[in-house]
C-alpha cells in the first residue's frame, strides 16, 4: 500500500527497473526447484489506482452495484463516526501531532513529489541511455565488421585478374622478343647485300679513276721533245698569223 502511495504521487515515474529488481528477485528466489522458465511479463507502468491517496479503487468498484457512487464515502463516514463516538479511537495529544505530521508530509509530497520523481527518472534514463548506446555501438560495429569481411571476400575473388595481367605481360614480352629477332634477321641480310653493292660501286670508281690517271700519264709521256718543239713552233706561227689578221682587220 505504501508503494501505491509513493507511486501515485510521483505519477511520472517510468522506470520500474530498480523496484522490479527487488520484487521479481524475491519472487524468483522463492521458486527454487520448479522454476518456470517463461519470461516474466514486464511490470506495470503505474501502480494500482487509488482515490485520495490511500483507498484502492477496487473498493469503490466493489460497492458501486449495491450502493452507487456515494456508497464507500458513507461507509467511511459511518466507520469514523462509530470509532469516535464509541471512543474506540480516543482523541488526545497524539491525534493533534498526527494531524500536523501527516499534513506536513502530504503537503511536502504533493509539492515536491513530481520534481523528485523527474530527477530520479532522469538518473535512470541516463543509465539506460548509456547502456543503450554501448549496445548500439556494439551492434553497428559488428555489422560493419561483417560488411568488411564480405568486402574482403569479394576482393579476394579478383585475384585471377592479377595472374592474367602477369601472363599477359609475359606473352607480350615474348612476342616483342620474337619480332625483334625477325627484324634483326632482315636488317642483317639487307646490310650484307648493301655492303656488297657498295663494295662494287667503290671498285668501279677506283678502276675508273685509275684508268683515267693512267691514260693521262701515258699521253703526256708520249709527247717527245721533238714533237714538243714542232708544236711550239706551229703555235708561234699561228699566233703571228692571227696577229697579222687582227692588225689587218683593225686597220680596215
Amino acid at each position: 500500500m505504501m508503494s501505491r502511495l509513493v507511486i501515485l504521487s510521483a505519477n511520472s515515474l517510468k522506470g520500474s527497473g530498480p523496484f522490479g529488481a527487488g520484487l521479481v528477485h524475491a519472487s524468483r528466489s522463492l521458486h527454487t526447484s520448479s522454476q518456470s522458465r517463461a519470461p516474466v511479463p514486464p511490470l506495470p507502468e503505474t501502480g494500482g489506482k487509488v482515490r485520495h491517496g490511500i483507498f484502492p479503487e477496487e473498493i469503490f468498484q466493489l460497492l458501486y452495484p449495491k450502493t452507487g457512487v456515494t456508497g464507500p464515502y458513507m461507509l467511511g463516514t459511518g466507520l469514523i463516526t462509530y470509532l469516535l463516538s464509541k471512543e474506540l479511537y480516543v482523541i488526545n495529544n497524539e491525534t493533534l501531532s498526527a494531524i500536523c505530521i501527516f499534513s506536513v508530509i502530504i503537503y511536502g509530497v504533493k509539492k515536491f513529489g513530481p520534481s523528485v520523481a523527474a530527477f530520479a527518472d532522469k538518473l535512470n534514463e541516463e543509465k539506460l541511455a548509456k547502456a543503450q548506446e554501448v549496445k548500439d555501438l556494439a551492434m553497428s560495429g559488428l555489422t560493419q565488421a561483417i560488411e568488411n569481411e564480405k568486402k574482403e571476400q569479394w576482393r579476394v575473388e579478383g585475384r585471377a585478374m592479377l595472374f592474367d595481367a602477369k601472363r599477359n605481360n609475359v606473352a607480350m614480352l615474348l612476342e616483342t622478343n620474337y619480332r625483334e629477332r625477325l627484324h634483326m634477321v632482315t636488317n642483317e641480310i639487307k646490310r650484307r647485300l648493301d655492303y656488297q653493292i657498295a663494295l662494287q660501286h667503290l671498285n668501279r670508281r677506283l678502276e675508273q679513276e685509275h684508268m683515267i690517271n693512267w691514260v693521262e700519264k701515258s699521253v703526256i709521256g708520249s709527247i717527245t721533245p721533238q714533237q714538243e718543239k714542232e708544236s711550239i713552233a706551229k703555235c708561234i706561227a699561228d699566233l703571228k698569223m692571227l696577229a697579222k689578221n687582227t692588225q689587218a682587220k683593225a686597220t680596215v
Binding site: H25, L142, E149, W154, N169, V170, L182, V185, I189, Q196
Partner: protein, 161 residues
Amino acid sequence: MAARRVALKAIDWVAFAERVPPNQRSNFNALKTRSDAISAKLTSLPETPAPIDWSYYRTAVAKPGMVDEFEKKFKGLKIPEPIDTQTSVINAQEAEATKSAMAYIEESKVRIAEYEKELLKFKNMVPFDQMTLEDYYEAFPETKLDKVKYPYWPHKPIADL
C-alpha cells in the same frame, strides 16, 4: 606468328583497381605502369619486317649466285620462338594464391559466423528498460559480481570501481 596474339586476355584495369585493397595500391600502380610500358613497346614494333626486294638485288649485285643463295637461305630460315619459362611459374603462383585465398575465405567465414552470433545475441536481448539485474548479468556475464571471491560489498576489488 598470329597465334601468339590471341593469348593476350583483355584486362579491365578499372574493375581490377576496384578490387585492390588500399594497402596494396602501390604494388598495383607499379604493375600497371610496367604492363603499359610493355604493351607500348609491343605496339611500336610492326608485326612483320619490310620484305626484301630480291629482284633489285639480283640486278645490282655482280656476284652471281650470292643473291640467290641469300634468298634461298632466308626463305628457308625459321626463327625460333622464345621459350616461355615464366608461365608455369605464374601458374604455380596462381594455384598457391588460390589455396591461401580459400583458407582466408574460410577464416573470414568463421569470423562472420562469430559476429553474426554476437549480433543475434544483441538483437534478442531484453530491452534495457524491461530488464532485471539478473537479466543484465545473464546478458553481460563479465559484469556479474563474484560474491564468493569477494564476500563483502562492493564485491569487487576497490581498484575496479
